[in-house]
């Protein structure tokens, strides 16, 4: 069953249960809002924390994101999945929280993403530590592209920068990760 179409660009089907939940949220039904929050809170908090690397900033970003989600859920058109729509709001909101910390590097031509050799096995704990130690801008682009699976174009659109910038940031992020992992003694 599809969410009521107000645009013929709706392409994702939404289950009847989800449709009821969304309509409840649109109507301001607190139970429906709580249900939606409970479903996505941990995943979205994880995303907020990975980007901000600060529990308090992540809490504030999560809170602000869901306020925005509930106030704007009537605009959800099923042009993406509900989760993807929510995630895009969380990313934009979290970006606003960290924007001041990000210093965009001068554009540097990264013609082709250099592939990196990550050895035979990479410990997730060390990798998490290395990711959290990255500068905010690098960390954000790395998390969005490598962990969340967004394309450079999507990230560039969300952050309001060029794809050249995101490619450059990702390149530097990976290079710094290698340095960090080497310093931790886990890089080949």
């Amino acid at each position: 069953m599809m969410v009521k179409r107000q645009s013929d660009r709706s392409v994702y089907s939404v289950s009847e249960q989800d449709q009821q939940m969304i309509q409840g949220c649109v109507a301001g039904d607190r139970l429906a809002q709580k249900k939606l929050y409970d479903r996505y809170k941990d995943a979205m908090y994880t995303l907020c924390f990975r980007i901000t690397n600060d529990p308090e900033a992540a809490q504030d970003a999560l809170q602000e994101s869901f306020i925005g989600i509930f106030r704007g859920i009537h605009l959800f058109r099923a042009e993406s999945t509900l989760g993807a729509w929510i995630k895009s709001i969380v990313v934009r909101t979290t970006y606003r929280h960290v924007r001041r910390q990000i210093q965009h590097e001068p554009l540097e031509q990264v013609s082709r993403e250099e592939s990196a050799d990550w050895g035979h096995e990479l410990d997730a704990g060390y990798l998490a530590e290395a990711i959290q130690s990255l500068p905010t801008g690098y960390r954000m682009v790395f998390v969005l592209i490598e962990v969340e699976g967004y394309s450079h174009k999507e990230v560039a659109t969300m952050l309001g920068v060029s794809t050249g910038t995101t490619k450059s940031q990702l390149f530097h992020a990976k290079r710094q990760l290698q340095f960090k992992l080497k310093a931790l003694g886990v890089y080949p």
Binding site: K41, T46, Q59, I67, S115, A116, D117, W118, A124
Partner: protein, 204 residues
């Protein structure tokens, strides 16, 4: 474009030459994928195992509160300060009720002219700054008390929080007199007579 032209174009498009993919295309793709896979597989595996986090319990009450209030996003400290204000309002209301019930409070209510004479308490800028600083400081202290307290078996330090709330109440009771254009002003209007009575009891 008329119907005939459209038909002609469609017919021509259908007759466009078809090309076969070069024989070695797949081999190149496969080699590239294998090469990439062998290099990035450890990273992919590790990324899947990155730690996940649970959203803190306190976020939903704040969201709910803001949705109810229809307010702009308020940060955690602001919310605690607002909670302290609410507590003070309740405290002052309760105190007022107590005074109304007390025998000493049976004195005739102040007349309007008398109220105007007593009027609003005029505080100096320095005093206002001190009160605002106290309120802000108490808000932060309250926040600290309500955080997990390792020495008390990971429980919020309620006793300390109550002390801070008491301090906040006292500070706010005074600051209510100076807020000119806020909800506190409206509260002051409602309770002005009560506060005058209270002040005369405390500082006769």
């Amino acid at each position: 474009m008329n119907e005939k032209n459209r038909h002609t174009l469609d017919k021509a498009l259908r007759k466009l030459p078809q090309h076969s993919a070069p024989e070695d295309a797949w081999a190149q793709i496969e080699a590239s994928l294998s090469h990439e896979s062998s290099e990035t597989a450890p990273m992919r595996d590790a990324l899947k195992k990155l730690p996940l986090y649970e959203a803190p319990e306190g976020v939903w009450p704040r969201i709910e509160w803001q949705l109810q209030a229809g307010m702009r996003v308020v940060r955690r400290h602001s919310l605690l300060a607002a909670a302290a204000v609410a507590l003070c309002i309740v405290s002052i209301g309760a105190l007022g009720y107590y005074l109304r019930q007390a025998p000493e409070s049976s004195a005739p209510p102040l007349q309007l002219s008398e109220r105007q004479q007593r009027g609003q308490v005029h505080l100096t800028e320095a005093e206002i700054a001190v009160y605002q600083s106290e309120i802000a400081g108490a808000g932060h202290s309250l926040d600290s008390c309500l955080k997990l307290n390792p020495e008390a078996g990971k429980e919020p330090d309620i006793a300390a929080a109550l002390v801070v709330l008491g301090q906040v109440r006292d500070s706010l009771r005074q600051s209510l007199e100076m807020e000119a254009d806020t909800a506190a002003q409206r509260l002051r209007m409602r309770h002005s007579l009560l506060q005058e009575a209270l002040r005369s009891r405390v500082c006769p």
